[in-house]
């Protein structure tokens, strides 16, 4: 089915895009890669009357590696990030995990990271990794910009903190410091399907080998991705052990609140949330040289 008719605007600068958003308010949607929005419009799940296409705003397609952050513009495609030299050489292992499994390789040539965050699909990959990675989003309006922590940015299914007249222009991922590593895993029926279950974990070790901080996030387990504070508490302050990993996995299983669908029952999806948290934690610890934690 074709989408309902809409007015198409094609600005070449961010200011022009913001002016269009200010004029059209809640009727307008940003069109970036379109890989989620266009199918949603075809199914009439989304019916914007104005599309503001940002694909011709060249200044939004960039990857900047500053001192301690990796910054991606709203026009940066998954494919560009996936083949970034520092991504390929292992500087961002958790983000590299995500890059390899978002939709499929062709979809990744158009799809954007910031677009995925703004779409905030309950089963989206980037929101989960952004939560575990403590990302923040730069949201710009006509009166200036604000930096929103990812936990505040993701409000509910398909809903973010971006207000009418504003747009998300950049995502910032803190670079993993020394003794920090993460991992992202998901289960999908086939390449490109929505995740049956998804989990991201990131851990930092203190010099004495104890876990000084941990973040654990789930996807496809509620209205949108979320962090599991109890799983993080189970890991923090102790040396990594099978017991602490199992406690984190239990907490994730309990916190998961998935919906039954053709991908599985609620019980199965909760079980998989726990399994993926355990696997993601073991993968993250292995990346820090801790294999076979007992």
């Amino acid at each position: 089915m074709f989408p309902a008719a809409f007015e198409y605007l094609c600005p070449t600068s961010t200011d022009e895009a913001l002016a269009a958003l200010a004029e059209h308010g809640s009727d307008a949607r940003i069109l970036a890669g379109g890989q989620s929005l266009i199918p949603a419009m075809r199914f009439r799940l989304a019916r914007p009357s104005v599309l503001v296409d940002i694909n011709r705003i060249e200044s939004l397609a960039y990857v900047n590696e500053t001192g301690d952050e990796l910054r991606l513009g709203a026009g940066t495609r998954d494919h560009a990030l996936e083949f970034l030299p520092s991504m390929q050489s292992g500087h961002y292992p958790m983000l590299a995990d995500v890059c390899a499994v978002v939709a499929d390789p062709v979809v990744r040539q158009m799809g954007t990271v910031v677009g995925s965050l703004c779409h905030n699909d309950p089963a989206g990959d980037w929101p989960v990794a952004a939560l575990a990675g403590n990302a923040s989003i730069v949201v710009r309006g006509k009166d200036g910009e604000r930096v929103v922590p990812i936990g505040d940015f993701l409000v509910d299914s398909y809903t973010t903190a971006v207000a009418d007249g504003e747009m998300a222009v950049e995502v910032r991922f803190p670079k993993p410091g020394a003794r920090t590593a993460g991992a992202y895993l998901k289960i999908e029926r086939k390449v490109g399907d929505f995740a049956t279950a998804a989990a991201a974990a990131r851990v930092t070790l203190a010099e004495d080998g104890t876990v000084s901080s941990a973040s654990v996030a789930l996807g496809a387990a509620g209205p949108c991705g979320f962090r599991v504070a109890e799983a993080e508490r189970a890991l923090t302050g102790a040396k990594p052990s099978s017991a602490s990993i199992a406690a984190a996995a239990d907490a994730a299983r309990n916190a998961a609140d998935p919906r039954a669908d053709t991908r599985g029952t609620v019980a199965f999806k909760k079980q998989m949330a726990g399994v993926l948290v355990e696997r993601a934690l073991r993968k993250a610890f292995a990346r820090l040289g801790l294999e076979d934690i007992r």
Binding site: G34, F83, P105, M110
Partner: protein
């Protein structure tokens, strides 16, 4: 809205409604029915075309207006100087197709992929094609075809023969 899109080397200027998907623009406005529509929801890869030489795009999930000013290559434009493109020849040689429905998308994906990775491993080829579904031939011969095309396309050009 008026668009100017280069398709297979020919510039087309057309008036299109913004909601028209690129796949339907190619098939219905330009009559280029070699681009197939399978699932129509970006899951199957039948509709993949090459944009600007190196980017594979699912044309059912892109508005034609987004292609304004860009170069598109479809299956109809792969032939070079009256000869099959090495990718087309390889699919023929390796029996990489049966019903042929997925083939234009497979080839478009593979051609764009080899532009960025001219000497891929078998695993890399399988990964690159993982967004393209085939329901009859199966994937082994398709992978062999891409391997054959990769070998041919990355081979050094033959030495020019000196005029005697």
């Amino acid at each position: 809205m008026k668009v100017s899109i280069s398709v297979n080397g020919t510039a087309y200027e057309r008036e299109v409604e913004p909601r028209v998907l690129l796949a339907y623009f190619l098939r219905e406005d330009l009559g280029l029915t070699g681009t197939h529509v399978g699932c129509d929801t970006s899951s199957c890869g039948c509709c993949v075309v090459v944009m600007d030489g190196t980017t594979a795009v699912k044309s059912c999930t892109m508005f034609a207006v987004m292609a304004d000013g860009h170069e598109i290559m479809t299956i109809e434009g792969m032939k070079q100087n009256g000869k099959l493109h090495p990718m087309q020849q390889a699919f023929s040689d390796q029996h990489g197709l049966q019903c042929g429905y997925c083939t234009p998308g497979m080839m478009a994906t593979a051609i764009a992929f080899l532009k960025t990775n001219p000497n891929p491993s078998e695993a890399e080829i399988r990964d690159a094609l993982s967004g393209n579904m085939c329901r009859c031939t199966g994937y082994n011969n398709i992978v062999k075809a891409v391997q054959q095309a990769a070998a041919e396309l990355s081979a050094p050009a033959p030495e020019p023969v000196a005029a005697s």
